[in-house]
């Protein structure tokens, strides 16, 4: 990754957190009181950074090193902000403890009939509820998304806590930034104003519970490259009503002029419903995002695809055979789950630089070692992984054993929860 995107997010976080603390740094106050104030403002700065990092804007994502990296930092800054904000009232109470334990509890007590204290407690409780839901596995996406939204409400209530303590320039600045970031996210992403209109041009089943959908732009198309993904919301057609939510889909082809193809596997309620989509359905497309194949170099490459993870590699092959020699290992459960097999075999037959291995893994947890080349065969290779998170997690240590680690290993998780 270039140095500028690599440093962009740390610099952004440092500016927001450092700026908040520097601007409000207490003078001539006791240690615990000062610490409490610094923790409160540090948490506020981190929350602002976390809010900005959840804005899915293609240009911003490119500038910050990719959407996946933004989401990793969004989670990290959010959790560290939570820790700071939990410690904030405790430090204030600890400062009052020397005066008297009664005063310490009075500082902390939610029964003190004070709006600033109530707002502070309200914000903390909303943060707790929102984070508990965020970390809860197995929740349906819609429910998860609604509960995750509590964190946005928590930020607003927390800013209310600051305003009730007395409006000052730093508080006004924090308020403006928070409303701007939340509004940017709501209007551009959730309400879809950043999306471009497309229509479904063609649909074809390519495997069990998987279709490939061709999308034709109705206006200026988005700029997309192979290896990237887009966020797509399917709306209405003559006989089809989409769920209207934006979901990430990897491009399986980028066809001129501006036509896109995506692979959709039935992994949830919405994507299962999409299996029955028809041509003519209105679509909104945001993006494009991702830097998965951006780092592709002249070195020989080892591509490993799991299930629907074949799509970025297929897009690269459809876009023209790269000059490097490529080993492609395509893993799927059963033959019925193998998508694009005929096309892949046809490309491999024409391209001597491509070595294709198709492998059904069956149900259960397979021993992946048996399908990986020996370390000697992978010397000097760059490895690209795309597939279910469990498969990627299982493959990483095995590839590291074979000398493919760190910067030689490339993958994206596509986990935007």
């Amino acid at each position: 990754m270039p140095a500028v995107p690599f440093l962009a997010i740390p610099c952004l976080v440092a500016i927001l957190v450092g700026g908040a603390i520097f601007w409000t740094f207490p003078e001539a106050l006791p240690f615990w009181r000062s610490l409490g104030i610094v923790l409160g403002w540090g948490g506020c700065g981190l929350l602002l950074a976390s809010l900005l990092l959840m804005v899915r804007e293609a240009r911003l994502a490119r500038w910050l090193g990719g959407l996946e990296r933004m989401y990793r930092w969004h989670h990290g800054t959010g959790v560290v902000a939570y820790l700071c904000l939990l410690a904030h009232p405790l430090a204030l109470a600890a400062g009052a403890w020397e005066e008297s334990p009664r005063l310490a509890w009075q500082t902390l007590s939610p029964w003190s009939e004070s709006w600033p204290v109530w707002a502070g407690w309200g914000s903390l409780l909303l943060l707790m509820a929102g984070l508990a839901a965020t970390f809860r596995r197995g929740l349906g996406y819609r429910i998860w998304r609604g509960l995750h939204g509590l964190l946005g409400v928590a930020v607003l209530v927390g800013l209310g806590h600051l305003v009730l303590l007395g409006l000052s320039a730093p508080i006004l600045a924090a308020l403006i930034l928070a409303v701007a970031f939340l509004g940017w996210r709501l209007v551009r992403v959730d309400f879809g104003s950043a999306a471009r209109p497309y229509t479904v041009a063609a649909v074809r089943p390519v495997a069990r519970d998987m279709v490939e959908i061709a999308l034709t732009p109705l206006a200026e198309p988005i700029a997309a490259q192979v290896g990237q993904f887009v966020l797509v919301a399917f709306l209405r057609g003559e006989h089809f009503r989409g769920c209207g939510e934006f979901h990430p889909f990897t491009l399986s082809a980028v066809d001129p002029p501006g036509r896109l193809r995506i692979g959709v596997k039935a992994l949830g309620d919405c994507t299962r419903h999409i299996q029955a989509i028809e041509p003519g359905v209105a679509v909104r497309v945001q993006g494009s995002f991702g830097v998965f194949l951006d780092a592709a170099v002249a070195a020989p490459q080892f591509w490993i695809a799991g299930g629907i993870g074949i799509t970025p590699f297929l897009a690269a092959l459809r876009g023209g055979m790269p000059a490097q020699s490529i080993r492609l290992l395509y893993l799927y459960r059963h033959d019925a789950d193998a998508a694009f097999v005929d096309e892949l075999q046809a490309i491999a037959a024409q391209e001597p630089g491509l070595t294709l291995r198709l492998q059904a893994t069956g149900d259960g947890i397979p021993d992946l070692r048996q399908w990986l080349p020996e370390a000697a065969d992978l010397v000097g290779h760059e490895c690209y992984l795309c597939g279910p998170p469990a498969l990627v997690a299982a493959l990483r240590p095995l590839l590291e054993e074979r000398g493919l680690a760190g910067r030689h290993l490339h993958f994206e998780s596509f986990d935007f929860r």
């Binding site: 006791p30 403890w97 005066e99 334990p101 009075q106 500082t107």
Partner: protein, 118 residues
């Protein structure tokens, strides 16, 4: 890891809140005010108008709140102007005209040093 960190921090937070609550409940109550209070003239109160030496007159009582001011939730700029002055109205109308809570009233009494003399 982040999930574990958040759960650990949340549990620790509630345990410390519980400890502060227990400390506040178990602490001895403030000593009762002297039977006969010292009378303090407004002129003397006016001499204590600094952040570290701050007296206020509230509802006829004189309070030495210098030690408490660093703990006050509002910004100092909202409270300090009332040092050395009659502050009953300000005390009764903080935050959009809403008076301080009963708990705040009880806390205030711990800082009482006398009654104002006309």
């Amino acid at each position: 890891m982040m999930r574990r960190l958040a759960y650990f921090a949340t549990v620790t937070f509630w345990l410390l809140v519980l400890a502060f609550w227990a400390g506040g409940r178990l602490a001895p109550p403030p000593a009762p005010a002297a039977a006969v209070e010292r009378g303090i003239a407004l002129a003397e109160v006016a001499r204590h108008d600094q952040p570290e030496d701050c007296w206020m007159v509230i509802r006829g009582g004189v309070y030495d709140v210098g030690a408490y001011l660093p703990e006050h939730p509002s910004r100092p700029a909202l409270v300090l102007p009332w040092c050395g002055k009659e502050a009953s109205e300000a005390y009764a109308t903080k935050g959009k005209g809403k008076p301080h809570s009963a708990a705040a009233d009880a806390l205030l009494e711990e800082y009482r040093i006398g009654r104002v003399e006309p």
